[in-house]
Structure formats: C-alpha cells, structure tokens
C-alpha cells in the first residue's frame, strides 16, 4: 500500500519520455558539469553553438538536431546509467561528450557491450582507442600520447638539456602522460636521463614541499602535468623558490585557456606547452567561430569550446555520410570520416578510431596581464600516431 503512490509516479515518469518523440535527431551528451564546470561548460557552449548553426542551415537528413545534456556527477557508474537512460527513454541516436578519462573508458565499454555509438570528445587516455578500444568508440581530441610526443619532439631540440624531472598528479592520466613523454623523448634523445619523479595527489598538491623536492634533484628540464588549482600553486611556489629559473619547463596542456587564464599575470613565461591560442589563429573559419562564440556567450573560447564545436561538426558530417541513424551504418561511416573544422581538416582513422585533430605547441609569455602562447605552430595529429603495425598490437581484435 505504502509503495503505490511512489510506483505510480515512477511508472508515469518512466513511460512519459518516449510518448513525446518528435522528428528530431537526438544526441545524448554526458559530461561532468558539476564537478569541473570550468572545463565542461565551455564544452557544452561550443556544442550548443554548433547545433544552432547546423539547425539554422536546415539540419541534417531533413531533421533538426537536439542535444540532451546530462551531468554524470563525475562518477563512471552514473555515466553508464545515464547512457542507458538516454538510449532507452530519450531514444537518442548516439552519445558524445565526457572529459574524465575513466568515465570515457567506462562509456566505451558500455558502448561495446550494448552496440551503441559513442563519440568521446575530450577524454585523453590512450587506452580509450588502443588497449581498451572497440568497434563502437571513437575519439576526437588528440590523446595524451600524441600531445606528449609533440612536446617531446620540441624538447629534444634543446640539446643542452640532459637531465629531466617530472611532476604529475598521482592518477592514471598523470602516469600515462609521464610515461608517454619519457618514451618519446628517450627515443629521440637516448642521452637524456630522468632523475626523479614527483606525484602529488590530484588537487591536493603540497606545492612548497614538491618544489623543494624538485630543487633537490637539480634537473635541467622539468616536465609538468599538473593542472587546475594544482598548477596555480605549483607555479607560485616554484617562482618564489626560483625553481623555473634557467630551466626548460615543458607543460602538458598548460597553454590551454582553462588552465593558463586563471593565472593572469603570474602565468609562467618561457614554458614549452600545448594549448589553444584562439586569439592568434588567422584562419577565417576559426575567426568566425570565435566571433560568434564571444557574441553568444560573452566570454572567450576555451579548448573545451572548440572541442565541443568540432564534436557536433563531426556528428553532422557523420549523419550526412551515413544517411541514417542506424548504429551499424553510423559506425561504418565514422571509419575514415573527414570533417572540416575551424581548426582544420580532421580525419577519423579507421584503424584505431582516433581523429587526427592536432594540437597547438608553443611558448608561453605574459601580455597585458594574461598568459598567452607565442611562436606557436599547429601540429597535425596524423604525424604523431603510431604506425598501423604498432596499433594492431595495441588494440584487442
């Protein structure tokens, strides 16, 4: 008796969803909107902008696109539940999104088991397309491996830097990023030596002590993977204790506006970083993107914004190529899909489902009270991926 009202409500809510199915193509979007809003809201903004643009030009397959955004609370198990909900109640055609690598991997495994298409936008883990890759998962953003390889290539050119120390958050992403950089640099420069590693707990860095420990190692080069509030603390303590003076510092993702903007005029100078110099990209499609983004959201774009935008451009191109929302047809269309984006052409490799979207590599400096990238270049992702033979070894059948 006491359960009846509850169950009635439950059943009504459960069944009400499908009744309102309209003639739109629904895209399920899952991201950690509450845990890391500074990184995920720009992603959603970018995606929203793209959807509006696509719909204004008549949509795809004669239908409008509809983005259904959900918060995964930063929990993989929650993300899987939401994916199930999106497919069964909202009847979405595919899912996209996510920032955290572990959530990306969880959704990848869900996609494989349930034979649904998942386009991972932001998660960086290499395993997503290699060790744990599968038929139904594709990724847009350049992975940890690719970005580390790009940085290693530039760092290798500094012949006098021979001893390196690393500092990275103590979790899977940090570990991946360090080992990728080490391997790539060692391959190019067998003479370099890694003299020490520091592993602060994520978002709990004890910056003073970490800096002191790094100083103790007396490295010539430092490879930094810390980000967010950890990065701010690390930069501040490191500057105060002269850690960065006369040393080559390489920062993974440090040039991305999400991470460098909050540092304002204290942004580190002369670091070699990957990032996103949106203020300096001359390409007209990109400038158009920046202008409409700033107009609509009254803020400058972040790396998440362009990733969100490119993800939706991918979905548009995918639907045009597949001419269907059938999962198997879409998966086949995704293989070898070419998309034109504001950051240049992107190709989804059939062999490992990784896109060739590249990254911007350059040097940091401070101008008008903000950290920016100078002397940057766009490195195409296709040149920083392992050979087909290597990929076959990495991927399960």
């Amino acid at each position: 008796m006491r359960f009846k009202p509850l169950l009635t409500l439950f059943l009504i809510v459960s069944f009400a969803g499908p009744l309102f199915a309209a003639d739109t193509i629904k895209i399920g979007d899952i991201n950690s909107y509450k845990n890391l809003p500074a990184h995920t809201i720009p992603y959603r903004n970018g995606a929203t902008l793209a959807i509006e643009k696509i719909n204004a030009s008549g949509g795809v397959l004669g239908k409008q696109l509809e983005l259904i955004s959900r918060d995964d609370q930063g929990k993989p198990a929650e993300a899987i539940k939401i994916a199930e909900d999106l497919f069964s109640r909202e009847e979405v055609s595919l899912i996209s999104g996510t920032l955290f690598s572990h959530i990306g991997i969880a959704l990848g495994s869900y996609a494989a088991k349930n034979k649904k298409l998942y386009i991972a936008a932001e998660p960086l883990a290499d395993a997503l397309v290699w060790a744990k890759g599968n038929r139904y998962t594709f990724r847009l953003r350049p992975s940890t491996y690719m970005q580390a390889a790009m940085l290693a290539e530039e760092a290798a050119k500094k012949k006098d830097v021979k001893t390196w120390a690393t500092i990275a958050p103590n979790y899977a992403y940090g570990k991946d990023a360090v080992s990728a950089f080490k391997n790539a640099l060692k391959k190019l420069r067998p003479d370099v030596e890694f003299v020490g590693e520091q592993w602060p707990a994520l978002f709990k860095i004890n910056a003073g002590a970490e800096t002191q420990a790094l100083l103790q190692m007396k490295p010539q080069g430092i490879y930094n993977v810390t980000f967010g509030s950890d990065l701010a603390k690390f930069v501040r303590e490191g500057t105060l204790r002269n850690l960065f003076k006369d040393r080559l510092v390489v920062g993974l993702l440090t040039g991305e506006p999400e991470y460098i903007d909050p540092l304002k005029d204290e942004a580190p100078e002369g670091w070699l970083v990957t990032g996103y110099p949106w203020y300096d990209i001359k390409d007209s499609t990109h400038q158009e993107f920046v202008a409409s983004y700033r107009k609509k959201f009254n803020e400058t774009p972040k790396i998440g914004s362009i990733v969100g935008y490119n993800t939706m451009m991918t979905i548009e191109a995918l639907l045009k190529k597949a001419q269907s929302t059938d999962t198997e047809k879409m998966v086949e269309a995704m293989k070898g899909l070419d998309v034109n984006t504001p950051t240049g052409p992107v190709h989804y490799r059939a062999i490992d489902h990784q896109s060739t979207m590249g990254a911007y590599v350059g040097w940091t400096t401070v101008k008008n009270g903000t950290g920016i990238m100078v002397d940057w270049k766009y490195l195409d992702g296709k040149n920083y991926l392992p050979t087909d033979a290597e990929v076959r070894k990495l991927r399960p059948n």
Binding site: I80, A172, W199, N206
Partner: protein, 618 residues
C-alpha cells in the same frame, strides 16, 4: 641536513592553515557535539569572500583587514546556518545533524558557483610578503614565515578567550555539562550560536589565509574536509592544543612523505589516523568518552518482535510488483530498479548495525566497494565465474569486517564512526593509488555476469531473489535472541555486561555479518554496472547509505527499503536540473527539520496505525 630543515618549515606553514580550519571544527564539536561535515564549505567560503574583499589591493591594511573581515562574514554565514537549521537539531541523534550539515555542503556548493562562477580564482599575494628570504641555504617564501607565526598567535588567542573570559568559562562549563549550565540560567542558544560563529570564523580565516598560497576553487570544500577530520580526531575532539599538535604531525608527515614516498601521499595520512586511534581511541589529547556527558538521544525501538514477522501483504505486493517489471521490456527501468534494490540492500546492511546495533558507521562503503573490487579483481586476474564470485566477494569483505570490526567495536559513538571512516579512507586511498593492480581511478571494466545471468532478465531476477533472501535473513537475525542481545548492548552496555552478555563479541559478530552482506550487495552491484571505480568506495558512497536511512527512518524496519528506493529515484530525477545540488540540499534540510523520523515515520504515525486498527476491528 638543511633540506630537512626547509622541508620542516614547509610542513609548519601548511600546518598553520590546517590548524586554523581544524580548530574551528574541534571547538564546534567540543561544545555542541555537532559533527559539522560542512566545515570545509566554510573554509571555501572564507577563501571566496577574502578574494572578493581584497581584490588587487597593494595595501597591507586592506589585505590583513580583508582576511579578518572574510573570517567575520564567514562566521556570520555560520550563525545563519546555526539559527535556521542546527538549532532545531540539538536534541536529535547525531546522525541527523551530520546529514543536515551534508545538506549545507550541497547548498553552499551551488550558491558559491552561482555567485563566483566556475573558473578557479588565483589568490592575491600578501603585500610586502611577495618575495622569499634565504634561510639555511634555500629560498623560503616570506608569507610561509608569516603563516608559521600566525597560528601560535591564534592558538594563544583562543586559549585566552576560553580561560580568561567569562564567556569562555561558560563555554567550558557547557562542554562539561550542558544541562547544568542551562539549569543555572545561562542562555544556551546564545552560547551555542557564539561557538558556531567562532568555529566558522576560524574556518573562514583558514580559507582566506591560504589565498596567497593558492586561491579559491569549487573543489576546496571536499579537498580539505578529510584532512581536517583527521586532524581533529587525531588531536582529540574538542581539544585545541590537540588540533595544533595533530596539524603539525599530519603536515610534517605530508612534507616528508613527498621526499621519501612521493607516490603514497594519501595512504600515509589515513594510516597514521588508524594507528593513533587504535593506540589512543580518543585521540592524543581527547578525553575518554566515559567521562563525558552523553547527549540525549531519541531512541525508538524497533517494532519487530520474534513472532510477528512483517510478512504482511505490503511486502508481498512489493515483491510482486518487482517481479512483474521485466515484462515491460524497458531496459532502463530494469536498470534503475536493480540499482534501487541494490542500494536499498546496502542501506539495509548499514541499518542492521546502526538501528538495532547503535553503531553509526561513516565508512560502510568500504564493504560495498570492497565486495565490488574483490569480484572485479578475481574476474580480471583469475577469470572466475560469477557463481563462485558471489560467494568469494562477500567472503573477502567478511574478512575485512572481522579485522576492522575487531578494532572498531572497542569504541563507541563518534569515535567508532571516525575509526570506520579512517579504515574506509585507507582502503580507498590504496585502491586509488595502487593503480598497477586496481587500475587507479580508471577502475576495472568488463565485469559482466557469466552463465545464465548473462541475460539481463535472469540477472534481474537473481538480484531480486538474493536481495529478498538476504533481507529476510537480516530480519530473522534481528528478531532472534542474538538481535535482542545486540539491542541490549546498544541501550546499555553496562547492564548488558552485568547480565553476562559479551558486548564486544556481539557487536563484532553483528559488524561482520553486516560487512558480509554489504559485500554481497557490492558484488551484485559490480555485475550490474560491468565496471568498478574508486568512487564506489569513497566518502560520498558511505554518505549515500546514511542519507537513505535518514530518508527512510533509522529505527524503522522498512526504512532502508523506502529510503534506498526514494533516494536513488530522486537522484536520478533531479540531476537533470542545473542546480540539483541546491535542490537536494534544501530537500535534505527540510526533511530533517520537518520529518525527523523519515518517510516511514510519517506513515507509521498516521496512516499505517489507522490501517492496523481497521484490521484489528475486523
């Protein structure tokens, strides 16, 4: 040698912020007995308010004045929370206060997000202290020195306030015996509000004082809360000196841990806490609980008796509904029901030690997540089939429960809760940082059911069957002589001992049974999700179970079922809204203030009684 000296100085300056924040929590607990889980939120508020007040100013007066004012404003927010919410809860069981403060965390989270936005804010530097000075051959930031000086000053200030003023004397008197102070005509409300102001003031001061070393961001509240609790518990709850010493111990442990064991930074802290609690259950400077005045708590007894098992038609209807659900063939509904059932099951295992046993555990996720991880690891490394693992998984957590329980049942009340929290956090940090075995935060994936249960409908029925059976067993145990002995231990351990009940043994057995059952729930859970991640073992998961019990009603036999179902359903529903944390936080607070006996309490007070009466008259 100098490297160690410099590292020691770093430890001291870190200890400073930690001490400021922790001392506030310790004071609040010492006087009001409220375990304020939202203390980290006040720390975060202090940082944000300080950031806004100080701005880009180069004036030292504005900087230091800003710090002070930020602390005052934070204190005033604390006063608001105390008057609106906590004041109504001094006479309800500790658990309710705890959950209420959990609601405060959620509300402050979303409000901060609304006011200050999502971006991390870099804190202002202290004017005049932006550089560093050379000390022992190394550069030491001058603000570090300022912090090292600040905390003893605050410590002395608090001591003077408590020991040299009339207000302080009254507060100490209230700490010793609340009722006596009230009987002497002291306005308790005013006293408690004052104490809460002081506690939040200190948290705000800690948050603002760390601005030059970091800044303000939305993860600060959960970031510091575990550490602050470790400090307070290690130092002895209510002891200011203890908090100071413990803050130094923990910070030095961190600072030197970074030099020698850079990869196990999280484990060290919780290991230290567990060791200290085992050796000195009331912390370094805490007083043993037997000397303290026990807070009045409302004890309603369970209504189950040996003969009247609640196999009434309400239960049968519920099971019938659950059995029919797969016919609708909607995957998501089944998924959601499985989750509701398993989390209710998990809540019921906690209820078993908490309701009849009176043992409030803050770390029950240890057994839930432990069961999941045991299964996932067995699948990953030994490829064992599901039929074996549904026994092996719970067996592993039973062994955990035997070990952890042996230490925990020596304590009671808040100290019991804190030790369970310490063990759970210890296990969590091992799982999180030992990534070569557990996959770290990438978790373990690909743990799907094997055998006939590969079919989702079969798995669904398996979950329903095993859960119903387990709940039936728990129910039988509660109404057995063992269950009665357990309740006797809860109500008076002295009298129980006098009539020959081995209190610790009874509680130990109950704890182990609960650990086994929670492990079973966790084992099924991992199969339902296909993967497991450290979040299933973290503090919020333990809290979920507590909130479910609260929602359902702690002393009601159907509490965990109602609470678990409603909560899972609610979370699934409201996370669609942008400000769902705010909404959930407000709902939790309202529920506690308006219906302290939970949902089942609402029913049993009115409707159910009437139904029972009707039944009898027929």
């Amino acid at each position: 040698m100098s490297i160690y000296a410099v590292q020691f100085l770093i430890g001291l300056s870190d200890a400073s912020v930690l001490f400021l924040t922790a001392s506030g929590l310790s004071i609040i607990f010492g006087v009001s007995r409220i375990v304020n889980f939202s203390h980290g939120s006040f720390y975060m508020l202090g940082a944000y308010i300080g950031y806004s007040l100080i701005g880009d100013s180069d004036n030292p007066l504005i900087f230091w004045g800003g710090l002070f004012l930020a602390a005052v404003v934070t204190g005033l927010v604390g006063v608001l929370v105390e008057i609106v919410l906590l004041r109504r809860l001094y006479h309800v069981p500790e658990l309710f206060q705890l959950i209420a403060t959990f609601g405060v965390i959620l509300v402050i989270q979303d409000l901060t997000f609304m006011i200050w936005g999502a971006e991390d804010l870099l804190g202002p530097r202290a004017p005049g202290l932006t550089g560093s000075i050379e000390l022992l051959g190394a550069l030491v930031p001058s603000y570090d020195i300022a912090l090292i000086v600040l905390s003893p000053l605050v410590l002395v200030g608090i001591w003077l306030l408590f020991y040299k003023t009339r207000w302080g004397a009254l507060v100490r008197a209230a700490t010793e015996d609340r009722e006596m102070v009230a009987a002497l005509g002291v306005n308790q409300n005013l006293l408690f509000t004052g104490v809460f102001f002081l506690g939040c003031f200190l948290a705000g001061l800690g948050g603002a004082a760390q601005l030059p070393k970091g800044g303000a961001n939305l993860l600060m509240d959960f970031g510091i809360i575990a550490e602050v609790f470790v400090v307070v518990v290690v130092g002895g709850m209510g002891s200011i000196w203890g908090a100071y010493i413990a803050a130094i111990i923990i910070s030095e442990l961190n600072a030197f841990g970074i030099l020698f064991l850079p990869e196990s930074s999280l484990v060290m802290m919780f290991l230290a806490m567990a060791v200290i609690l085992i050796a000195r259950p009331w912390g370094l400077f805490g007083k043993s609980e037997s000397m303290e005045h026990k807070p009045p708590s409302e004890r309603e007894d369970l209504t189950i008796s040996g003969r009247k098992l609640p196999w009434n038609w309400g239960w049968l209807l519920l099971i019938a509904v659950l059995l029919v659900i797969p016919w609708f063939q909607i995957d998501f509904v089944m998924t959601l029901v499985i989750e509701m059932v398993l989390l209710s099951f998990f809540a019921a295992t906690l209820h078993f030690i908490m309701g009849p046993g009176g043992m409030v555990s803050f770390g029950h996720a240890l057994f839930f997540g432990g069961g999941s991880y045991a299964v996932a690891l067995f699948v990953n490394y030994l490829q064992l089939p599901m039929s074996v693992l549904l026994i092996a998984g719970p067996a592993v957590t039973m062994v955990f429960a035997l070990l952890v329980g042996w230490f925990c049942v020596r304590l009671s009340g808040v100290y019991f809760a804190m030790l369970t929290l310490a063990f759970a956090q210890l296990a969590w940090s091992v799982v999180f940082q030992w990534d070569s075995v557990t996959g770290g935060d990438d978790g373990i994936i690909g743990v799907w059911p094997t055998g006939p249960a590969e079919d989702k409908i079969v798995f669904y029925y398996l979950v329903i069957t095993l859960t119903s059976l387990s709940l039936y067993v728990i129910r039988r145990v509660i109404s057995s002589p063992f269950g009665f002995a357990l309740r006797a231990c809860r109500d008076s351990s002295l009298r129980s001992r006098a009539i020959g009940i081995d209190v610790r043994k009874i509680q130990w057995i109950a704890f182990t049974i609960s650990g086994f059952m929670a492990g079973l729930a966790g084992s099924l859970y991992v199969y339902s999700k296909g993967s497991i991640f450290p979040t299933e073992m973290a503090i919020p998961r333990s809290f979920d179970a507590l909130i479910m019990l609260l929602l359902g009603g702690v002393q009601s036999p159907v509490g965990p079922i109602i609470g678990g179902s409603v909560y899972t359903f609610l979370i699934d529903y409201i996370t669609r809204f942008d400000y769902w944390r705010l909404l959930l936080g407000i709902m939790i607070m309202l529920l506690i203030v308006l219906f302290p006996r939970g949902i089942s309490g609402i029913f049993s007070s009115g409707i159910i009684q009437r139904i029972k009466l009707l039944g009898q008259s027929e």
